[in-house]
Point group: C2
Chain length 214, copies 2
């Protein structure tokens, strides 16, 4: 829709890209036309975002296009805008009770916390299933045996962009990220669990974008 | 970026919206300016997608804006562009072997097929975990006991838009949809499994869009 369709617009964009900042008068001289003849083409190029006008300096190239607009739109959305409520169990919970908590809350991942809401580990359905088919007594098994412990957990924050969090989900091959705040504890840094960011949140966001709601 | 910033552009858009199709000359007359004075504003409005020009008819209103462009961009992507390879087991597989197949292929959902690749059911990690913590003998249990059978399965097709498929994932609260082709079998219609569409595919697509790759 916002493609540059005319040859003159492409020529102008190329001149601004290679010679910017450059004035409208200088561009006109290069193309052997009047400044007035370029007025609407320059307006379109500025409006499309591909070039920008800086007063008393001239036109310069930004390289932005529709794709960039899409990227900018996406990068504006923060984790806090789409995150879910975290579901947590304490470190002394059994594997069985952790799985029951998963089912009761209909979530695929629970966060294991200690000292209030300080992140200690994470348990996914995959972790739970791996132990459950091993024929173990789940009621006797402490959650610490099957959880992924803190140093290995990938986290996000409410201020991080949804895009960056989604990238973490894909690159780390996990279904869920704890949304955390960094807190100071004696001699260390700890994470306080404040939310949950999953592929479901990203999929829902994608649907809302497709419906024009984001 | 493509916001209409000038009052005159807003006035023109309003005239086209209420009186379109309308010629540039008629718009100029309404605003008491020359046709030439409107040239760049009309060009910007057409370029932004908010109005369109139809030869020998005039300008008419589309109501499109950046948000619409985003929506259009999203609706162009098909399931076939982002789907994964399906992981299947046959109807005579045990629950235990089905779960092993899940782990070996690192997927959260397997499709149960009969007569080649005709869809009969679907098993998620959640289904498997529910049975596994019940203390049942998984090696003796047939997959038919824990699978969701065909009439209840939500499917998608390669030609469906990724947006519509994502909407199905959210509204049906499932992690995965079988991508199917419709085939005729004697006395009935059946689905042939040709792919797998998950929240991971949608999340990856979102990341690619954010990177300007889609």
């Amino acid at each position: 829709m916002i493609a540059l369709t005319t040859l003159r617009q492409k020529k102008i964009a190329e001149i601004v890209r290679t010679s910017g900042p450059i004035t409208g008068k200088q561009i006109a001289a290069r193309l052997f036309v009047t400044r007035e003849a370029l007025r609407s083409d320059l307006a379109i190029l500025v409006m499309s975002g591909l070039i920008e006008a800086r007063p008393k300096v001239g036109y310069y190239y930004t390289g932005k296009n529709v794709r960039t607009l899409l990227t900018e739109q996406i990068s504006k959305i923060k984790v806090r805008d789409i995150q879910s409520v975290p579901v947590v169990v304490t470190t002394n919970t059994s594997a069985y009770d952790t799985i029951v908590t998963m089912f009761l809350n209909n979530v695929g991942t629970v966060f294991v916390v200690e000292s209030g809401s300080i992140l200690a580990g994470i348990v996914s359905r995959k972790d739970a299933l791996k132990v459950a088919i091993g024929g173990n007594d789940m009621k006797e098994m402490p959650i610490k045996v099957l959880m992924t412990p803190l140093p290995k957990i990938i986290v996000t924050t409410p201020e991080e962009s949804a895009f960056k969090a989604a990238k973490k989900l894909i690159e780390s091959e996990v279904d869920s990220l704890p949304v955390v705040g960094v807190v100071s504890v004696p001699g260390n840094t700890a994470y306080e669990v404040v939310g949950r960011l999953t592929k479901t949140n990203i999929t829902r966001l994608f649907v809302e974008m497709g419906e024009g709601k984001q």
